[in-house]
């Protein structure tokens, strides 16, 4: 085998919040760690997180982790695993304090304690009233977190492989994961990084939708790698959408615009929210507004050339009010929608924001999958944390500020488990099978030698349009069935992508073709899992099954790439130490 090979105790794929938190645990335990990242670590998508990280510190008012747990279970629409949710909420305070000790510049109260602010869905005393639980560093919480963790990793001598893209997992016949095959972009060379432990921390894959708030790097590389290696993806039908992203761009327009008196119009100039929510109208909850918008578009009342968006009108507020109460909105609208909202409405669409599903793991971050005998087994050598993992704390719907908490808590616990497994020799440096990199090399060779075929941008565009139209925020049965057919066809086309530039050195066209392979797995898993789930729960909202069906569907979906097969596994309703929160209607 002519491929260069290097050995590490652990390979971490991705250097956002969860990857950095996990890597820190490993490096501080004096393990030899390689962290692979497509971009410089502090340019990971974690920088986009503004709101905060939740922990029941009780600095502003009495709070406890059990209330936080209740909010998270309810927020998940009872699809979250209650053992994992208890684990996360109990560890939240330590995670935040630890980060503060690392140097994270949290905002403070006059008495020196960490300042906390309220956030949607977080309540006191099991839903009684809103509570201040979110810890923040101005509106740059994710940015500050990423920098804190990065600097701490530098101190711990973590070895970073920047501008490296992991392409595939290596598994042996027993199914153990032995490392990754990766591409160094600078040279275009492929290398095997052999490791006792491989930890996926590649974030979300929101780029499967044409309307997405996600940065371009969010292509679900870890999910694609897992899927190709025969590992299922869990709960991929659950994606959180924001009602008002700029059409064609994805940049969010704050809900404050509607709070200040802005409202939505269809192509006929009708203020349609009056029909869907006669009392609160445009101030209805996110899901109600997004569903109404999707219905207007589906029924042909969208504005724009192809009837593809809704208009957000706020010119009646006047330029002065807009400037004073909604600072920055005019600049954002001008830059990304090419309109000045002081005179013209902003074109908006429900926009994909966060992926609740991912690689199935337990609370120690170990990847798990069905054992074929009705139980579950650990995939030896593979771990995952953060948005690319499904542990599952977010269930069918994530609570704001729980994503940063998720990556801190499970980044650390996955790191700790790797340290433990290596020390106990549960995982060791295995022999590589002779064909370790064969599939990857075949994929690259096809791409490097193809002289004709599909353009990557064409196939990617078709995938994004299909997902947006057929598996968006509100899902219609006929449309989903058609979406499955279309996505299968798109996936076929993706097998024959073609790039003009055959150079090896820093060839971004090649990288983008490989990213598309990963996106396609994510899109397929989403489309197929969504079509099968005959209920509405959390972010999965179907017109033909408008209610949650706990009897038949309180279970996690597991999609396998092989044959697009689906299996299901029970939701863990039993927490670690406390009593279960019984499912109730999710009303706020």
């Amino acid at each position: 085998m002519g491929i260069a090979r290097r050995q590490f105790d652990a390979v971490v794929v991705g250097a956002g919040g969860s990857g950095l938190r996990a890597a820190l645990q490993l490096a501080e335990s004096n393990l030899k760690v390689a962290v692979l990242s497509k971009v410089f670590p502090t340019r990971s998508h974690t920088v986009a997180a503004q709101g905060g990280v939740s922990a029941s510190l009780g600095n502003e008012e009495p709070d406890n982790w059990h209330w936080h747990m209740y909010d998270t279970v309810k927020g998940s629409d009872y699809l979250g695993d209650q053992d994992a949710i208890e684990f996360m909420c109990r560890k939240a305070c330590d995670a935040v304090v630890e980060l503060e000790h690392y140097g994270m510049p949290f905002d403070r109260l006059d008495n020196g304690k960490i300042y906390q602010r309220p956030f949607g869905g977080h309540t006191s005393n099991y839903g009684e009233r809103a509570i201040k639980r979110a810890c923040a560093a101005a509106d740059r919480t994710g940015h500050a977190m990423l920098h804190t963790l990065y600097q701490r990793n530098v101190r711990a001598h973590t070895q970073f492989f920047v501008e490296w893209m992991a392409l595939d997992l290596i598994r042996n016949q027993q199914g153990d994961v032995l490392g990754v095959v990766a591409l160094e972009m600078e040279t275009g060379e492929v290398m095997i990084l052999q490791s006792k432990a491989t930890l996926l921390a590649t974030g979300g894959a929101g780029r499967i939708y044409s309307a997405s708030t996600n940065a371009f790097i969010n292509t679900g590389d870890g999910l694609g790698m897992a899927a190709r290696a025969g590992i299922p993806l869990e709960d991929m039908e659950f994606w959180q959408f924001h009602p008002t992203g700029v059409a064609g761009a994805g940049v969010l327009i704050t809900e404050g615009v509607r709070g200040e008196g802005g409202f939505l119009l269809n192509k006929n100039g009708e203020r349609f929210m009056e029909r869907y929510a006669p009392t609160v109208k445009d101030l209805a909850s996110r899901d109600v507004v997004a569903r109404a918008m999707a219905t207007e578009i589906k029924e042909g009342r969208g504005a724009g050339k192809d009837g593809e968006y809704i208009l957000l009108k706020l010119d009646h507020l006047g330029a002065d009010v807009i400037d004073k109460r909604l600072p920055g909105i005019r600049e954002i609208a001008k830059k990304f929608a090419n309109v000045d909202p002081a005179t013209d409405p902003i074109p908006v669409v429900p926009t994909c924001h966060y992926q609740m599903g991912g690689v199935p793991t337990n609370v120690q971050g170990q990847a798990v999958m069905p054992d074929g005998k009705g139980g579950e087994k650990i995939v030896k050598g593979l771990y995952a944390a953060g948005e690319c993992a499904c542990v599952s704390v977010h269930g069918a719907n994530r609570l704001g500020t729980n994503s940063l908490l998720d990556l801190l808590v499970f980044g650390k616990s996955a790191g700790q488990q790797v340290v433990k497994d290596i020390a106990a020799e549960v995982v060791s440096m295995p022999d590589l099978p002779a064909d370790a990199a064969d599939k990857t090399m075949a994929r690259l060779t096809r791409l490097d030698t193809a002289t004709t075929g599909e353009r990557v941008s064409d196939v990617g565009g078709e995938m994004r349009r299909t997902m947006q139209a057929h598996c968006g925020v509100f899902r219609f049965p006929d449309s989903m069935a058609e979406g499955v057919k279309k996505m299968l066809a798109v996936a076929e086309r993706a097998k024959s992508t073609f790039i003009q530039d055959k150079s090896k050195v820093f060839n971004t066209a090649r990288v983008e073709a490989l990213e598309l392979d990963n996106l396609i797995e994510v899109a397929l898993s989403t489309m197929i899992s969504a079509n099968a789930r005959q209920e509405s729960r959390g972010a999965h909202d179907r017109s033909d099954f408008p209610n949650r069906d706990d009897k038949n569907w309180m279970k996690h979906s597991l999609w396998f790439k092989d044959g697009n097969r689906l299996e299901y596994k029970a939701v863990q309703l039993k927490p670690l130490t406390v009593e279960s929160f019984e499912p109730k209607a999710r009303v706020y």
Binding site: K38, R43, L146, A215, G328, K335
Partner: protein, 79 residues
């Protein structure tokens, strides 16, 4: 500029923030081919900024410390 240099710049326009991805994608499409050597160096210098700092400058919420960046930054602001 050769394809490799273009690709390197193209990749350094991949950011953690969508807003920057969009602005930089537009900037590269419209201006990269016609930038002078000096402007290209300034552009690379801007790309070395952290995401939120660069976005603040692009959106006009902050001004660069170094005046030599202003002209290219102005092109990014109006792209």
């Amino acid at each position: 500029m050769d394809q490799r240099s273009r690709d390197r710049i193209h990749w350094h326009c991949r950011r953690g923030l969508l807003e920057l991805d969009l602005v930089l994608e537009r900037f590269v499409a419209r201006h990269l081919d016609t930038l002078t050597a000096g402007q290209t160096e300034v552009f690379k210098e801007l790309l070395a900024y952290e995401d939120n700092d660069l976005l603040d400058m692009v959106m006009g919420r902050a001004e660069p410390v170094n005046e030599s960046l202003t002209a290219v930054l102005e092109m990014m602001r109006t792209v």
